[in-house]
């Protein structure tokens, strides 16, 4: 879901940079106010774990593949503001060091995967957390699904895609709607494990 350079019109790139910068700035403020210094390495470990998980491209018969994105998982473990910072650090390293996702489109990639996935995942988890494992499952699934739809809208209103928003949104929504089940299951698995074995680590920033 990492958008490369050339996919988005310049004004979309600029708008996405502005929105993402505002949310990141606000997140830094929130994390500074609510988190102890000792928790910062925990954000780093979650970010490092998500980077490592994204290295694993799960091949799916029929010629497609998907990797775990992890925004919802980060939000459940860290709270949404620290999760946005963790996901942003992953996307910046992927972009600058490994050329995964374009520089002009970095704002949009941060918006989709470090903001939409994170805050949607967090909202879904919070609304359903009394209902057990269904909460992290739906958080992971819906987080990635809406991130994919946001991505579909951004490319669909760009000239490179000939403004074919009627094609791009359904393509992204259908594919990631199906692949999102894997994201949901992985999110559920990790959250259940941590809740049982390390309950003190759940949402340190809350």
């Amino acid at each position: 879901m990492h958008i490369p350079d050339g996919y988005l019109d310049w004004w979309i790139c600029v708008a996405m940079y502005v929105i993402s910068a505002i949310v990141i700035g606000y997140s830094i403020k929130k994390v500074r106010g609510s988190m102890e210094g000792q928790h910062i390495p925990l954000i780093g470990v979650v970010a490092a774990g998500i980077f490592a998980a994204q290295m694993l491209n799960w091949p799916i018969v029929g010629g497609t593949s998907a990797h775990f994105v992890g925004g919802a998982l980060a939000a459940i473990l860290l709270g949404p503001y620290a999760a946005t910072l963790a996901m942003t650090s992953v996307l910046v390293v992927q972009c600058l060091v490994f050329g995964d996702g374009g520089i002009t489109t970095l704002g949009a990639n941060i918006f989709n995967m470090a903001i939409v996935d994170v805050f949607v995942g967090y909202a879904v988890y919070n609304a359903l957390k009394k209902h057990g494992a269904i909460a992290p499952f739906l958080a992971g699934w819906l987080g990635i699904w809406l991130a994919a739809i946001a991505c579909g809208v951004e490319i669909g209103i760009s000239s490179t895609f000939a403004y074919k928003i009627g094609i791009t949104v359904p393509t992204m929504a259908i594919w990631h709607g199906v692949l999102g089940v894997i994201e949901g299951l992985a999110t559920m698995g990790v959250v259940s494990y941590i809740r049982v074995h390390h309950p003190e680590k759940m949402e340190v920033a809350a």
Binding site: G37, F51, C151
Partner: protein, 88 residues
């Protein structure tokens, strides 16, 4: 925390295996499918220091292994750096 580092190391060691398996099914991501359907082309002007997780001169699987550890090290260094700066 120790278990988390072990889990990260295991994923990184498995990365080359996944790279190989993904090649086997000739994979593409949904975003690439959408680009193909709409006739869009990417135009990457900057491709990173290690483009697409490859190290020049090394085969893609060893590259995946090395770049994985590199990425994790950079991210951890950033956050531990922030913590040290905060403690001063």
């Amino acid at each position: 925390m120790k278990k988390a580092y072990v889990a990260i190391a295991v994923m990184l060691i498995l990365a080359p295996l996944f790279a190989w398996a993904a090649d086997l099914v000739n994979y593409s991501e949904p975003l690439e499918n959408a680009a193909e359907e709409a006739g869009a082309e990417e135009n990457q002007s900057y491709s990173g220091i290690f483009p697409d997780y490859t190290v020049p001169g090394l085969n893609p699987y060893i590259s995946a292994l090395i770049t994985g550890f590199m990425g994790v090290a950079i991210i951890l260094a950033v956050f531990y750096g922030v913590k040290m700066a905060k403690n001063d």
